[in-house]
């Protein structure tokens, strides 16, 4: 049974984020994340949180999925919060005991840390939730293409081609692993018992055919690509043109407002951490 695995989970949809230019999304995600860490008072923090919430809502991805994505962070958050809350000694002391000290500094830092981590995870997940691996590869390739100035264009294209082919073959290879595993199990192979060394050895009957088959795939694919006149990145055109549309400008404007707001609020109000 072929299992659908996509890098960083992609959820197809038709929201403004889904339809935005992937290059823009890459840049905006990066910028947004940077500014999540720039905010230093409760007002700018509130803006960061509000911005993140608006972004999540505009992706129209179900809340269930979003919360599921935060689950892995829960343990980390609780642990580091506890550390900050009980051992941070800055600011006014509120409660002192033999083992722990709770201070205003501790409380503030904890709040900032928790909110920042949540926003960081949400914003980066949004990128992969709303952008297919193919679009991401495309976006990265086109963003990096100015590097051709340094003679790196072919490198950029080759990298993008490699990523595309890898993405294309991941499901096929997963299917093959299934088939090979079943075939070896049918001859009594046991992958479940034994210590580490034994289990590693037991994987050889899967790994070797997979490797050999992969070379065969690669070789035959290279012939097929040559037959279709593939000759590297030189002179290649693209059917799909990436053009910024109205919605992309709206997103850019929103980002400017966000960035401007964070900076302004940082200046107007005093830093709290």
């Amino acid at each position: 049974m072929v299992r659908d695995i996509t890098i960083g989970q992609y959820f197809p949809g038709n929201s403004v984020l889904h339809n935005a230019d992937p290059r823009l999304k890459l840049v905006l995600s990066f910028v947004s994340i940077v500014f999540v860490f720039v905010c230093n008072n409760f007002y700018s923090l509130a803006l960061v949180l509000a911005f993140t919430v608006v972004a999540v809502l505009s992706s129209r991805i179900s809340l269930k999925v979003i919360l599921k994505g935060l689950r892995p962070m829960l343990l980390l958050l609780i642990f580091t919060s506890a550390l900050q809350l009980f051992y941070n000694k800055q600011g006014t002391e509120l409660f002192v005991s033999r083992f722990i000290t709770i201070t205003t500094g501790g409380i503030f830092t904890t709040i900032f840390m928790v909110v920042r981590i949540i926003c960081l995870v949400l914003l980066s997940s949004l990128l992969t939730y709303t952008t297919s691996p193919t679009q991401l590869t495309d976006g990265i390739e086109r963003l990096l293409s100015p590097l051709k100035v340094f003679g790196l264009k072919n490198g950029v294209h080759t990298l993008a081609m490699m990523m595309t082919i890898a993405l294309r073959f991941i499901p096929t290879l997963i299917d093959e692993i299934d088939k090979i595993t079943n075939a070896q199990k049918a001859r009594g192979a046991n992958f479940e018992t034994g210590g580490i060394v034994q289990r590693a050895k037991a994987l050889l009957p899967i790994f070797i055919p997979l490797l050999v088959n992969s070379f065969r795939h690669a070789f035959e694919l290279s012939l097929a690509m040559s037959a279709r006149c593939y000759n590297g990145g030189e002179g290649r055109t693209r059917m799909k043109q990436l053009k910024l549309a109205a919605r992309d400008y709206v997103l850019m404007a929103a980002e400017f407002i966000f960035v401007g707001g964070v900076i302004a609020l940082n200046i107007i109000f005093e830093s709290v951490i």
């Binding site: 079943n182 049918a186 001859r187 088959n213």
Partner: protein, 288 residues
């Protein structure tokens, strides 16, 4: 005495998830010892899922699989043992070879069975002989063999386990006419010599009609019919309605019937065809 029995077997992939698919449903089958069974059906009819239940690779979500009267899934151990009693050879088995020599690869099954070195050697040589691999080839790396030799080596790897039931999924896939003939006659010879039960899954009606005694017709995850080969091909119209093709020779008689000739249509081998055509001419008093 029934060798392999399936009782109300159903299998659902991804049970409980939003992606669940019931691949086979309410399968009831009894396969007698020594029979030669062909399994036919369109792609997606559940053939692959079905055969993976014979050797406990898949555990039914409902129902039981009995081998010699005992449930093969009663314990992890029994499931593991079932793999040696029911040898399953997948499609394009040549893509599973991995050892450094052909000998070692064929020995993989027997080694997993925990047999002694002498016993393993005896079985490997026996299996290699069955499939027509020379001693010279046994010492080579499997990756040096030709496609046909690789396939035979892979089949030898299953035969070396001396399974009571040999199951082959599309053994002739990708082979040219003479390759197909060779593999099929090899399978028939194997069955004769070892008296084992053989099950073949195939898309080739011609192949199945020529060698099987009984046929299971799968359709949309269920057993549509399980009967003697003659019974199945006597109703070739039914097969057509399931989206299956009839053996090419049967087409001739279906067309002759269409043209108004009073001729039998339950013909599925060329020998039968020749006989029936001559019989028809004699019956109609036509001289030649």
């Amino acid at each position: 005495m029934s060798l392999l029995e399936l009782k109300n077997v159903s299998y659902t992939y991804g049970a409980g998830t939003p992606f669940e698919i019931t691949a086979i449903k309410n399968i009831n089958l009894t396969i007698e010892k020594g029979s030669f069974v062909g399994i036919i059906g369109h792609t997606g009819s559940g053939k692959s899922t079905l055969v993976q239940h014979f050797n406990a690779l898949l555990k039914p979500t409902e129902g039981q699989v009995l081998l010699n009267g005992e449930d093969i899934n009663r314990s992890k151990h029994s499931a593991h043992e079932a793999r040696f009693k029911v040898g399953l050879c997948f499609q394009y088995p040549e893509y599973q070879l991995f050892e450094t020599t052909v000998y070692k690869d064929i020995a993989f099954g027997p080694t997993n069975m925990g047999l002694s070195e002498e016993e393993i050697k005896a079985r490997v040589l026996e299996a290699a002989e069955f499939v027509g691999l020379t001693d010279e080839l046994l010492n080579k790396s499997p990756f040096e063999l030709s496609g046909g030799e690789k396939r035979r080596a892979a089949i030898a790897g299953i035969i070396a386990m001396r399974p009571e039931v040999l199951v082959l999924d599309e053994p002739t896939a990708g082979l040219d006419p003479s390759g197909r003939k060779k593999i099929l006659s090899m399978i028939c010879e194997y069955r004769e010599k070892t008296d084992s039960t053989v099950i073949i899954v195939s898309h080739s009606m011609e192949d199945v009609a020529a060698i099987a005694d009984k046929i299971i017709v799968m359709n949309k995850g269920q057993v549509y019919k399980f009967a003697d080969v003659h019974e199945i091909f006597a109703h070739s119209g039914e097969l057509a309605s399931l989206g299956l093709e009839v053996p090419p020779v049967t087409n001739i008689f279906l067309k002759l019937k269409e043209m108004g000739l009073d001729i039998r249509t339950d013909i599925y081998t060329k020998d039968q065809a020749e006989k029936e055509l001559l019989r028809y001419l004699q019956k109609e008093g036509i001289a030649w």
